[in-house]
């Protein structure tokens, strides 16, 4: 059956890119901050990780370094936007653009292959079973751990004030929260997640590429929108769950589309149209209730 063999692909890709979608949900949905750094911090994670692995670092440590780099990239956008009052979209675009050069610098060229070196995936691939089972298991554990981490974080004393920063900044500021540092912290965590995804996906696909992040925000938004159509995000727990489910469904739809003859080069067009339709259908119908919200939990 042709549906059956795209399920493992969708699961692997969906769970791997769920980290990106979680990061985007944290900024767009919880913090109500449209962060575009993601398109740059994803290849940044891949670049840092690939370069360090090729230079002989332990893959696990290389992933940690990639996460740190992503965190710093997010903080940079946050500082530009809060301390220096640069428009949030522009701040993200600036850092994203700067990261393109930085990523090329880190890698020394546009692409680093990882097929001949030992990565985190090597032990998984050496198992006797089909490659998909251990890899899907691995990405499932990573995605579930990150989801749990976000759920706990957003329910902590700090996390409540963090969510309020996206919901009602004036109120939580008057209650003593430094909303600027919360925003910087949130962007840092979000981009750390995205860079983690970049580092893991580079190892999974066997290369890091400077262009691997293009269109990722739109894909992440599409995932969130699809997920929220299936699971209403009434609570934080459901929001993060919806995001992961949405990421899997999105990859499933994409894989299905490609199987039915969609050219890979048309993917971003299809994804963009998907998001546009999701955003304008309620407007056409004229109902306020069904409106897709991209702000606040």
């Amino acid at each position: 059956m042709f549906l059956l063999d795209i399920i493992p692909i969708a699961l692997e890709q969906g769970l791997a890119y769920a980290l990106v979608a979680l990061g985007i949900a944290l900024t767009f949905r919880v913090l109500a901050f449209p962060d575009l750094t993601v398109d740059g911090s994803f290849p940044l994670g891949g670049a840092v990780c690939a370069r360090l692995i090729v230079d002989g670092m332990d893959p696990a440590l290389a992933v940690c370094a990639a996460v740190g780099a992503g965190f710093l990239a997010g903080c940079a956008t946050g500082v530009l936007s809060t301390r220096f009052k640069i428009n949030s979209l522009l701040a993200g675009i600036l850092i994203m653009t700067i990261l393109y050069s930085i990523n090329l610098r880190i890698m020394g060229r546009a692409n680093i292959p990882l097929l001949t070196v030992a990565t985190l995936m090597t032990p998984l691939e050496s198992l006797s079973v089909s490659r998909y089972i251990p890899v899907i298991g691995f990405f499932f554990i990573v995605a579930a751990t990150c989801k749990l981490f976000l759920d706990l974080f957003l329910h902590s004393e700090y996390g409540l004030a963090f969510r309020a920063t996206g919901d009602n900044e004036q109120m939580i500021c008057s209650l003593g929260m430094n909303t600027d540092s919360a925003t910087i912290m949130g962007l840092g965590i979000s981009n750390a997640l995205v860079a983690l995804a970049g580092a893991l996906i580079a190892q999974d696909q066997g290369f890091a590429d400077v262009g691997m992040g293009i269109g990722l925000i739109v894909a992440g938004l599409a995932s969130i929108i699809i997920g929220e159509a299936v699971i209403k995000p009434r609570t934080v727990f459901r929001l993060t769950l919806a995001t992961i489910i949405g990421s899997i469904l999105y990859r499933f739809i994409i894989a299905l589309g490609m199987r039915m003859g969609l050219a890979p080069t048309d993917l971003k067009l299809a994804t963009g149209l998907m998001v546009i339709f999701a955003l304008i259908i309620p407007a056409i119908k004229g109902s306020k209730e069904g409106k897709v919200h991209l702000r606040g939990v």
């Binding site: 974080f153 329910h155 902590s156 004393e157 700090y158 996390g159 409540l160 004030a161 969510r163 309020a164 919901d167 009602n168 004036q170 109120m171 939580i172 500021c173 008057s174 209650l175 003593g176 929260m177 430094n178 909303t179 606040g296 939990v297």
Partner: protein
């Protein structure tokens, strides 16, 4: 003797300085508020009432002058640092609460006003939930069974009552009320005002209340200040204030201000 609760010395604030829109919002205002004072502040639109509150709350910095609370100089402190001293209820019920978060989460955030918010400590614990339930019961709004519901589902009056409760959960040194009943219908406004007065008396809170409503300003509090064009035009307290009527105030105002329109249509 302890220092007075709040001291403003020679505070001035000019907006859009050097442009055609230049506007003096506060003109050399000095004011001392003692512990336990309940001060009502009235004045026409643009008199500087809200600017005064914003300057005290740290939303704006004054151009000149000095502000102290309990002897601490807070003139240039950022707004979020003010939370250790004061709590504020805004005019718009949606401003004082986070609508997409639950009642208990809002209460928890208020309980931590001005405190360190820990990353590794759970927010709404079972213990806290029980406390909130008990406190909400005293409000008698039926909210004690709706702790897990989003605040956005509440009515304006309920939301404003919740805002009030949130400010007094940990009694602040200074309570700031910025026309907090103005956006409510008259019946609800009266209810919320009665609750406000009750909470202020119960916790002996030092309070500044801006209001458009003259009756409210005269009925509540032990001191009344009238602002006009960024200056204090009238400052009465104690028995003198108690005997004051709306008519007196209007007359006084007209005498001291000649042809100015003193109060808008809200009298």
């Amino acid at each position: 003797m302890p220092p007075p609760m709040l001291v403003l010395s020679e505070i001035s604030k000019v907006f859009n300085r050097g442009t055609q829109d230049q506007k003096t919002a506060l003109d050399n205002i000095s004011l001392t508020v003692n512990q336990g004072d309940f001060v009502t502040i009235i004045g026409s639109n643009g008199a500087g009432k809200t600017t005064l509150l914003n300057i005290i709350a740290g939303t704006h910095n004054p151009d000149t002058g000095r502000i102290t609370i309990c002897g601490d100089d807070i003139t240039r402190s950022p707004e979020h640092r003010m939370a250790a001293y004061m709590a504020r209820v805004f005019q718009n019920p949606t401003t004082g609460t986070a609508g997409k978060m639950t009642i208990e989460e809002n209460l928890c955030m208020a309980e931590l006003r001005g405190c360190k918010r820990r990353l590794f400590r759970w927010g709404v614990t079972r213990h806290r939930r029980q406390q909130y339930q008990a406190i909400l019961k005293t409000l008698d709004l039926g909210l004690e069974h709706r702790l897990g519901e989003k605040v956005g589902l509440l009515s304006g009056g309920q939301r404003q009552s919740l805002s009030l409760l949130m400010t007094t959960l940990i009694p602040p040194k200074l309570l700031i009320l910025d026309e907090h009943t103005a956006a409510l219908d008259p019946k609800t406004a009266a209810k919320v005002m009665a609750l406000t007065d009750h909470m202020i008396q119960q916790n002996r809170l030092t309070t500044l209340m801006v209001t458009h409503n003259m009756h409210q300003a005269l009925r509540y509090g032990n001191r009344m200040i009238m602002l006009h064009r960024g200056r204090i035009k009238l400052d009465v307290s104690g028995p003198e204030k108690e005997q004051l009527t709306v008519k007196d105030v209007v007359q006084k105002f007209e005498l001291s201000l000649d042809d100015e329109t003193l109060l808008s249509t809200h009298i």
